[in-house]
């Protein structure tokens, strides 16, 4: 049967068909839907882990226990998870093990565009790169064969355009794979220095065999010979872009397995063509290797290293071709940046923080990064998951020494707190800074599209589970001053902040209210007493002061003739604007 699937759906399908029985991941764009889709196959046990390092560690455990297992994450997640990955490459597998990394060239939804192909070389693991959804499915199945045949974990690299593009996939049946028996094997699986000295030597031997396989023995790497004028070496989505522009006017060496690089195959291909291009997105991963082989090739001198690649760039840079375009008056295009949604529970907090002129606010990764945007502008830094709390501690220690009197707030979301905020908070207690950490508990992992997390009380597969209590964790690590507030009540937020800014000890505020987009369970509707009121502006009272615009709600607009206007269709009744209005001009609709 032929169906349209995104690369993520197809990767999940590939794992299903390959007989995978264990899968783990931490959500992160563009990788999230891999596990969401895997969870629909009941034959595969799938779980969200608190972070990517845990995802790989449980995946490694499952693989050693004998199951075919998979762990998936976004590119920066692999930084978090690199430690167990490097060591497991040394040890080798029992059941086949594949790590899926979803890179984000062009930074559609990320803080960098690192090229994780380098991780394969660095950790000494075979690297597989599909170009479309059909290949994502088929190559993943092949990855398990390679993992088990060569006794190595495999790195499987997708990019945003593969993850989130739909293309045609021919479905096949699942083939059950018998779990490998588990026997204690201390010399293989206990990573002592003595064992790993041997493992390193063995791994280098495996890589030699893998290089031979990559050159001579796998259908993942294939030549398409059309003519002898132009040859293109490429992999991943870049292959599709190259084909789009050159079609059958060039010959191709398409690398589905790009590490270990198939040197013999490359040498052979390069001898068949007069002019050789390497077309790859971001880093010169292939190019550097090919040039080191002494082969003359055109790559990054033409194809940009930064930003997302596309067919237009290839046409322009390699063929000097540019399409005719329609141009319009650019002044008639106003930017449309992402904003906190109507009724977002982060709004009240950031509005209160925006008024504190002597504050340093270190932010984190999530929807709440948008607290840095106009008109709130309530953020100083965003680095990575967890740094919202730890960077605040660094600020605090430096200002303590320099004598600068600042209020220092560290911001982190609920899922991010479980991910890597807990250790940061321990550092604050242990090393005694007076940071006010604020945990934004919106009862869901929001930005990636509403995944369960350890605080929601449900698992990826929909089972009810222990709801891990953030306040109890905070108290358990030694924070003495903790307040849980409703962020839609500005006076509650303000009084908690005022109370804690005068302390000489660390403190934590938990803002607890569900994401405005979350599909609430009955129990949540009751617990949070969700009402369906809407607000409107009484234009007899509105003085056009524009105060309500400072909360940055997409439901509020301004007309210079009548004043502020609330869109009743999108208002969700959080009442933050009504609390901000100095003239009580914002009232419940229909009252």
């Amino acid at each position: 049967m032929k169906v349209l699937m995104t690369g993520n759906e197809a990767t999940a399908r590939g794992a299903y068909e390959a007989g995978v029985t264990f899968a783990s991941a931490y959500p992160g764009t563009p990788s999230t839907e891999i596990l969401e889709n895997l969870a629909n196959y009941k034959e595969v046990y799938s779980e969200w882990t608190p972070n990517e390092k845990v995802a790989i560690e449980v995946g490694v455990g499952a693989s050693i226990a004998g199951a075919r297992s998979l762990s998936a994450m976004k590119h920066v997640g692999l930084n978090v998870a690199a430690d167990p990955m490097f060591t497991y490459a040394y040890l080798g597998v029992n059941g086949g093990y594949v790590i899926v990394t979803a890179d984000d060239p062009g930074l559609h939804s990320s803080q960098n565009e690192q090229d994780n192909r380098y991780y394969a070389r660095h950790a000494k693991m075979p690297l597989i790169e599909p170009s479309n959804s059909q290949e994502a499915k088929d190559f993943l199945k092949e990855a398990y064969k390679i993992s088990e045949r060569f006794d190595v974990p495999v790195l499987f690299r997708l990019t945003t355009r593969i993850c989130h593009s739909k293309s045609v996939v021919e479905l096949e049946e699942r083939k059950e794979v018998e779990k490998k028996p588990y026997k204690r094997n201390i010399s293989k699986f206990v990573a002592t220095p003595a064992a790993c000295r041997k493992h390193h030597v063995e791994l280098e031997e495996k890589l030699k065999k893998l290089e031979d396989f990559s050159s001579n023995d796998t259908w993942l790497n294939r030549e398409e010979i059309n003519n002898s004028e132009i040859g293109i070496i490429t992999s991943g989505i870049s292959y599709e872009y190259a084909k789009e522009i050159f079609g059958n006017e060039a010959s191709y060496l398409k690398l589905g397995m790009s590490f270990p690089i198939p040197k013999e195959k490359i040498k052979n291909f390069s001898s068949k063509v007069k002019k050789l291009y390497v077309i790859e997105e971001n880093e010169p991963f292939l190019e550097t290797e090919i040039k080191a082989m002494g082969i003359n090739v055109i790559g990054k001198e033409k194809i940009p290293l930064t930003g997302e690649l596309n067919p237009d760039i290839i046409a322009e840079k390699l063929l000097g071709k540019e399409n005719k375009k329609i141009s319009v008056n650019p002044e008639m295009i106003v930017p449309r940046p992402p904003t906190l949604c109507s009724g977002c529970p982060h709004r009240g907090l950031f509005f209160e923080l925006s008024k504190r002129k002597n504050a340093v606010i270190t932010g984190d990764i999530g929807c709440y990064t948008l607290g840095s945007a106009d008109p709130l502008n309530a953020m100083d830094t965003v680095i990575c998951m967890g740094a919202g709390i730890s960077a605040a501690h660094g600020f605090s220690k430096v200002f303590e020494k320099s004598g600068e009197e600042k209020e220092i707030f560290g911001i982190v979301g609920d899922s991010t707190f479980f991910h890597s905020g807990i250790t940061s908070l321990i550092d604050i207690v242990y090393n005694k800074s007076k940071v006010i950490s604020i945990i934004l508990d919106n009862r869901v992992t929001g930005m990636t599209g509403h995944q369960e997390n350890p605080g929601t009380g449900y698992t990826l597969m929909g089972e009810k589970t222990e709801e891990i209590d953030i306040e109890a964790i905070v108290k358990a690590v030694g924070i003495k001053h903790v307040k849980t507030v409703d962020p839609n009540k500005l006076d509650e937020v303000r009084s908690a902040i005022n109370e804690f800014t005068v302390l000489e000890e660390p403190s934590v505020i938990i803002t607890k209210w569900p994401c405005a987009l979350k599909k609430l369970r009955e129990e949540e509707k009751q617990k949070y007493k969700i009402k369906t009121v809407r607000y409107q502006v009484n234009h007899e009272k509105c003085k056009k002061c524009k105060m309500c615009l400072k909360v940055g709600c997409p439901s509020i607009s301004f007309d210079k003739n009548v004043g502020s206007i609330i869109d009743i269709n999108t208002c969700v009744g959080c009442s933050v604007c009504a609390q901000v209005c100095p003239f009580d001009a914002i009232e419940k609709a229909g009252v």
Binding site: K2, L4, T6, T29, P30, T32, H108, S109, N132, R161, H164, S165, K166, S167, V168, I237, E240, Y241, K243, E244, N310, P311, D312, A315, N323, K324, K325, I326, S327, V328, N329, E331, M332, I333, V334, P335, R336, P337, P338, T339, L340, C341, C367, T369, L370, A373, D374, M447, T448, G449, K546, L549, K550, G552, C553, P554, I556, S557, F558, N569
Partner: protein
């Protein structure tokens, strides 16, 4: 069946039903025997930002994304978004535009004004089909069907009238919304 690849770019604002529309179109094209690729945007851009999906179909499709000056049809669910993405349309392509304004953050906060005369500007540059889809959807009783109102004008512009679009709508929307969406589709058919 056409051999060359056709490109359809759908643009608008998060929440306007663009992804569902793209799904209805692309699954129908697949069933009609075309090779199809469709590219979506997820993550941070979805939070009230500018949203696009790209559909390419033909005998064999390579790139899932459409180049500048390459779209055969640009269908814009919002006026200003048509301006933002117009450079992706072929100079002799067709713009289908929903006569509807959604203010963006800089406009809401009073830092900019919603540009006037967008449709007039676009009409001087390219063949433009104006459909008041949001207005029609509200008249039909649900603003959310604005995407389906635009479906018939779009498929007609692409010469795909022989595909059973009502069937594809039925296959892609929840049971309880089918009647409402079929009504919107038929209204779109009437005016196109």
């Amino acid at each position: 069946m056409i051999k060359e690849t056709k490109n359809v770019l759908l643009v608008g604002v998060g929440g306007q039903g663009i992804i569902l529309t793209s799904k209805i179109i692309s699954t129908a094209l697949l069933n009609a025997g075309y090779d199809v690729k469709m590219s979506e945007v997820h993550g941070m851009a979805q939070r009230g930002g500018s949203v696009t999906t790209q559909i390419r179909y033909g005998e064999q499709v390579y790139s899932p994304i459409i180049g500048k000056g390459q779209a055969d049809v640009l269908i814009s669910f919002e006026k200003m978004e048509a301006m933002r993405w117009i450079e992706y349309l072929k100079p002799d392509g067709l713009l289908v535009i929903n006569d509807h304004e959604i203010q963006s953050a800089p406009i809401l906060s009073g830092k900019a004004e919603y540009p006037e005369g967008i449709i007039e500007e676009l009409k001087t540059k390219v063949k433009t089909l104006i459909i008041p889809a949001t207005k029609i959807a509200i008249e039909l009783g649900n603003i959310k069907t604005q995407n389906i109102v635009l479906l018939a004008p779009l498929t007609k512009a692409l010469g795909l009238e022989n595909i059973d679009w009502e069937e594809s709508i039925k296959n892609n929307v929840k049971e309880k919304f089918i009647d409402m969406n079929l009504k919107a589709y038929k209204k779109g058919l009437e005016i196109s």
